[in-house]
């Protein structure tokens, strides 16, 4: 009976594919994610990581295959409906509203969620937005123009927008790219704190991956090459050849 609870993954894909002409960017991928886990998605450049998560959140249409969220087929839903169903995506290239204040950026995310819940009072909007900013430590910058923030802080605005959606699955696409060592440390602490959400993390920095991921999925040339705990992945010969390099 205990196994029953784990039968239904939060997210599952079946034969998910995306071809760009002759290039098989994502080739019949069966992937699943349990509730509450932090999963890292790694692989060399061009392995298909960003394409896979873009297919999951609906930013690009799939050539074939299906996506399930808690058993519900969401393959035909457009991106904005998948976000409403609970999949939040933060962009690899920082994509915030530079001309708006930091608070207003996050409020746009909170406002949409609250309007779904029919509780869009001005106060709860402000409160929800501030909570998300406090989570990422940007509360002191709430009234600043987002475009005037440092690059590292802009990345955090991006994450705060994701958190304000209170998603069931938070997809982070290379969140630590371009951050300083100190900022990476606080990012690791931040993701450790989120707890409730399931996180899918595309990441190149192996320190971040090893610190955060419960499980790791390795992609190469559009396929899933390996999947397992950090220790299993570290010990996997295929992974070492394909990704970490044959010398290690």
């Amino acid at each position: 009976m205990a196994a029953m609870a784990t039968v239904m993954p939060l997210l599952a894909t079946q034969g998910l594919s995306r071809f760009f002409g002759g290039l098989k960017a994502v080739d019949h991928v069966d992937f699943s994610l349990s509730k509450g886990e932090v999963r890292a998605l790694i692989g060399p450049n061009g392995a298909g990581k960003t394409t896979l998560v873009s297919l999951i959140c609906g930013r690009i249409p799939a050539s074939s295959g299906r996506v399930f969220l808690e058993g519900r087929d969401i393959s035909r839903l457009p991106a904005h409906k998948r976000v409403r169903a609970g999949i939040a995506y933060t962009f690899q290239i920082t994509s915030i509203f530079a001309n708006l204040s930091v608070l207003d950026n996050v409020a746009l995310a909170a406002q949409r969620r609250l309007s779904d819940e029919q509780s869009s009072s001005h106060r709860s909007l402000e409160q929800n937005s501030r909570e998300a900013l406090e989570q990422v430590g940007l509360a002191p910058y709430a009234q600043m123009r987002a475009g005037n923030l440092s690059y590292g802080h802009q990345r955090l605005v991006e994450i705060a927008m994701g958190l304000a959606l209170k998603p069931r699955l938070l997809i982070l696409d290379e969140p630590t790219q371009g951050l300083s060592d100190g900022e990476i440390e606080s990012f690791i602490a931040l993701i450790g704190k989120i707890g409730a959400a399931t996180v899918l993390l595309i990441e190149h920095n192996m320190d971040v991956v090893m610190a955060l991921a419960h499980r790791i999925t390795v992609m190469d040339q559009g396929h899933i090459l390996a999947e397992g705990t950090p220790d299993e992945i570290r010990a996997n010969g295929d992974v070492q050849r394909a990704y970490l390099g044959s010398s290690s």
Binding site: H80, Y89, S95, A98, N99, L108, Q111, R112
Partner: protein, 318 residues
């Protein structure tokens, strides 16, 4: 004072000043201002789509003309009175905006400009084609008796200059405060955000298409309200108002006054009317002078008059 209180007071002040001008202005200028107020409403409608939602339409003459003909044709041919004719104008604008928006919003950027332009040209040519009913460029002159607006206890005759002025002011007030409310609402904020970064909004779960369509329909209905009011207040509906010129003019007024500001459309329309009026009393080549003035304005105030005021002095200006 909070920024909301400041904004509302400023808008109220402007309405009060316009009200007072009715008693202060000589007849000639009062006539111009009545016309400017109705056309400002057209510009305000355009501004919602162009300034706030970032939809550069070159076809808004169609929505103005939909209101103009929706009211004009029903008065002229069906003998409707002013209120139902106004409603017919608004309905025509809403339906056209919904259909044109549904198709045109599948495109963006330059393609969107072309598609909206084509819609408006098709509408313009239709007004000429059905010349039996519309009398084409010559237009319809609406009978005075049918233009009376009946209120409980009063019957307002828009051929009386003071009445016409007050009716135009009433329309302007309603639309100005409607827009002030809209652009500060969550819908208005979402529109600006869609304009700034459409893909991000989609990934925050917003239905970008539905938001743009809603903006275009509200914009179209406001422009149609201006058109219907024009027909009723000035008693004329002609195909000239459906021509490309009347798609370009609101763009010009909004750019001059300040895109994405609530007061910019009024400022821009007023400025253009008086620029033409003043220069044409001195020279035949007035369009040259106006053209140079426009170029200078765009060079030194790229955000328009109200936009520059907001950027330099009044950051709370909505």
């Amino acid at each position: 004072m909070t920024s909301t209180a400041k904004a509302v007071s400023l808008h109220l002040c402007i309405i009060v000043v316009l009200f007072a001008l009715n008693f202060l202005l000589p007849e000639y200028h009062r006539g111009i201002l009545s016309r400017v107020m109705v056309l400002s409403v057209f510009a305000m409608g355009y501004n919602l789509a162009f300034g706030y939602a970032g939809l550069l339409s070159l076809g808004h003459a169609m929505f103005f003309a939909a209101g103009l003909y929706g009211a004009g044709l029903t008065i002229y041919h069906l003998g409707w009175s002013a209120w139902p004719a106004l409603a017919a104008g608004l309905g025509a604008g809403a339906i056209l905006a919904l259909v044109a928006g549904f198709l045109a919003l599948r495109t963006r950027g330059v393609a969107f400009m072309i598609v909206t332009l084509m819609f408006a040209q098709a509408f313009y040519l239709a007004t000429l084609y059905f010349t039996t009913y519309t009398r084409g460029e010559e237009g319809l002159v609406l009978p005075q008796s049918a233009r009376n607006l009946s209120f409980p206890g009063a019957n307002l005759d828009p051929t009386v200059p003071a009445t016409r002025y007050m009716l135009a002011l009433a329309l302007l007030t309603v639309i100005l405060f409607l827009l002030l409310f809209l652009v500060r609402s969550s819908f208005g904020r979402a529109l600006v955000a869609v304009r700034e970064n459409e893909e991000r909004m989609r990934m925050l779960g917003y239905d970008v298409f539905a938001n743009k369509l809603a903006a275009l329909v509200v914009s179209g209905v406001i422009c149609a309200a201006a058109g219907a009011a024009y027909a009723i207040l000035f008693g004329y509906a002609g195909a000239g108002f459906a021509s490309i010129q009347y798609s370009i003019l609101p763009l010009l007024w909004v750019l001059l006054g300040g895109a994405a500001t609530t007061l910019g459309p009024i400022v821009g329309t007023l400025f253009m009317f008086y620029a033409v009026d003043v220069t044409s009393s001195y020279t035949n080549a007035y369009m040259l002078v106006v053209g140079i003035a426009l170029i200078l304005l765009v060079l030194y105030f790229p955000k328009g008059i109200a936009g520059a005021v907001r950027a330099r002095w009044l950051p709370w200006l909505p």
